[in-house]
């Protein structure tokens, strides 16, 4: 007992007297500042790379809401970005509506389709849900490829640029802003009562229903929010690069999003951000190495999954635990805690 008190005192003296909230606030402010000033120190090429990384951050964070927090393993998430991108571009090109209205139409259609798909398939789960969403994704992608006259097929579709410039800077700020709003929205949801329903549903759906949670309703809601966010990303993406093609709907895109989340940290708020930005960055750094970069990336994935299956966030968590165990805590089991009372 004495040694426990001594180590506790030691920790009290050793640690910085900063409230966790303040630490988070300063950390986020610093990150915000870095994101704002970064473009002034890097080339246009790298500004574009980071813009892409923010696009994938939105997809990864929104998939994490669905596949991570709610436990709905969708393999069609990238398709909602594809739908958002094509709807917006087609509405502007074919129907002649204003650009912002086209973007809005893309987002709304994405939400409507996700609602219908959600109602149809969210009574199933696990592998069955993964298969249904994958099949949906393939149907949409194949339609876009085959419907050449309407969608441009494999050649793609020229989407009007949002800011009338090919300079990447405005798009960089646009996507960093959307990514920040996405992360804030998801953090808000997870801290609200809805976050409790999501987590309870993922943990044990039968128990959640018995506790009064309408699990189907909240699963559909999660599906709509996540898909809607992917639709937002897709709708803006098309008008940022000026060309959209069915490549956006390939399974590789989905696999990449899942890798970003898993490498960063499934069911964490910072994980998908870390995963998307760091892996995109690494992919660009290793670009000169051609195919070898795939081997290096794969090796990194294997190493992280083997030793830190909670991704980067587990690495940080273990580091924090290691410091605390070293300086403060003696192991106390839950049973011992109750006995101590």
């Amino acid at each position: 007992m004495q040694s426990h008190m001594d180590s506790h005192k030691k920790f009290e003296l050793a640690r910085l007297n900063i409230h966790p909230f303040k630490l988070k606030f300063f950390g986020l402010s610093f990150l915000f500042l870095v994101i704002i000033i970064l473009p002034f120190f890097i080339s246009d090429y790298w500004i574009f790379v980071f813009t892409l990384a923010y696009y994938y951050t939105i997809l990864a964070a929104s998939w994490n809401l669905l596949g991570g927090y709610t436990g709905q393993f969708s393999l069609g998430h990238h398709t909602f970005a594809l739908i958002g991108a094509y709807t917006s571009a087609l509405m502007i090109i074919k129907a002649g509506i204003p650009l912002w209205t086209g973007i809005l139409a893309g987002i709304i259609l994405t939400i409507i389709i996700s609602f219908v798909l959600g109602v149809i398939c969210l009574r199933v789960r696990g592998l069955y849900l993964a298969l249904i969403t994958w099949a949906f994704a393939e149907v949409v992608r194949t339609y876009i490829r085959m419907g050449y006259e309407f969608t441009g097929g494999d050649r793609g579709l020229d989407a009007p640029l949002l800011f009338d410039t090919i300079q990447p800077l405005p798009y960089y700020y646009l996507f960093s802003g959307i990514a920040a709003v996405t992360i804030t929205l998801i953090a808000g949801i997870m801290r609200s009562r809805i976050g409790y329903y999501f987590r309870a549903t993922r943990n044990d759906e039968i128990a959640a229903r018995a506790m009064g949670v309408n699990t189907v309703r909240w699963k559909v809601f999660a599906f709509m929010v996540a898909s809607g966010l992917a639709g937002v990303a897709g709708a803006f993406y098309g008008h940022s690069i000026g060309l959209i093609s069915p490549v956006l709907g390939e399974f590789n895109e989905m696999a990449m999003v899942i890798i970003f989340v898993v490498i960063g940290g499934l069911r964490t708020q910072a994980g998908p951000v870390l995963g998307a930005i760091s892996i995109r960055y690494l992919m660009e750094v290793l670009r000169e190495w051609s195919e070898i970069r795939i081997i290096i990336l794969t090796a990194i994935v294997i190493i992280i999954m083997r030793f830190f299956n909670g991704g980067f966030m587990e690495f940080f968590k273990r580091g924090k635990q290691w410091v605390q165990q070293k300086e403060v805590r003696e192991p106390v089991s839950a049973y011992e805690k109750i006995e101590q009372r």
């Binding site: 044990d204 229903r209 506790m211 949670v213």
Partner: protein, 243 residues
């Protein structure tokens, strides 16, 4: 009985088939408000199936279930929970990755309580159950007995709770935890008027705790009354001791 009578729960002649197997065969139960009812029977007699039918996990094949005069068979489990029926599971089903406190919050929030109300109530109940020191621990770190205890006190978070259905709440738990569970049941019954229906194989506990006992055998209700009455019923003796 038309389901509109003096009983809080009326189970009217229900049957449940699983393919060719009839798990419950035209059983009827009538439970008064404020009663503690024991539900006993040999293994595979249909006790848990009846609980699953009452709480909407299964749908009835035949018959009807009324709660406070309203027909509830066919309703979804979350709707039944919102009407004031909570349950526990034989194998504890806590939300393992959530903390003890977060587990408590779920039924309260789903019934419209504010975060502050739910948290205050949860902390009171955890204090009562001697789990307050563990409130920030993930539920998966608890022992089996503590898991069962958490599962039980979690049900009390539903502010509309009128009927609490418990499936083997004393099975495999330490005596000290069993004492807390018994205290919780008696206190809630006495002070809040909550009605309980308890499945257990612990005859002494059931005898001391329950006002009335119903005995199931092969999906049929074979006896009902006080422990003394059912213990002397030849049908019950035959069910437990017969071939």
């Amino acid at each position: 009985m038309d389901g509109q009578g003096k009983y809080l729960l009326n189970v009217e002649n229900i049957a449940k088939d699983f393919g060719g197997l009839r798990a419950v065969n035209h059983a009827s139960l009538h439970v008064k408000e404020g009663e503690i009812r024991g539900l006993i029977g040999p293994n595979a007699s249909g006790k848990t199936t009846i609980i699953n039918l009452i709480t909407g996990i299964y749908t009835v094949t035949e018959g009807a279930i009324y709660f406070s005069g309203n027909r509830i068979d066919g309703l979804q489990p979350d709707v039944i929970a919102s009407m004031g029926i909570m349950r526990t599971f034989q194998i504890s089903r806590v939300f393992r990755d959530m903390t003890v406190l977060d587990n408590m919050m779920v039924p309260a929030l789903s019934q419209g309580q504010t975060m502050l109300e739910a948290k205050t109530r949860a902390e009171e109940l955890l204090e009562f159950a001697l789990l307050a020191a563990l409130k920030d621990e993930p539920a998966k770190s608890l022992s089996g007995g503590q898991n069962m205890l958490l599962q039980i006190v979690r049900g009390f978070m539903n502010k509309y709770l009128r009927l609490y259905v418990m499936d083997e709440p004393f099975a495999g738990v330490h005596q000290s935890i069993k004492g807390i569970i018994l205290k919780a049941i008696k206190t809630m019954n006495r002070e809040k008027g909550i009605t309980f229906m308890i499945i257990s194989h612990e005859m002494t506990t059931i005898s001391n705790l329950c006002h009335q006992i119903s005995v199931l055998h092969k999906g049929e209700l074979i006896s009902e009354g006080t422990m003394e009455e059912v213990a002397n019923d030849p049908l019950v003796i035959d069910a437990y001791l017969g071939g």
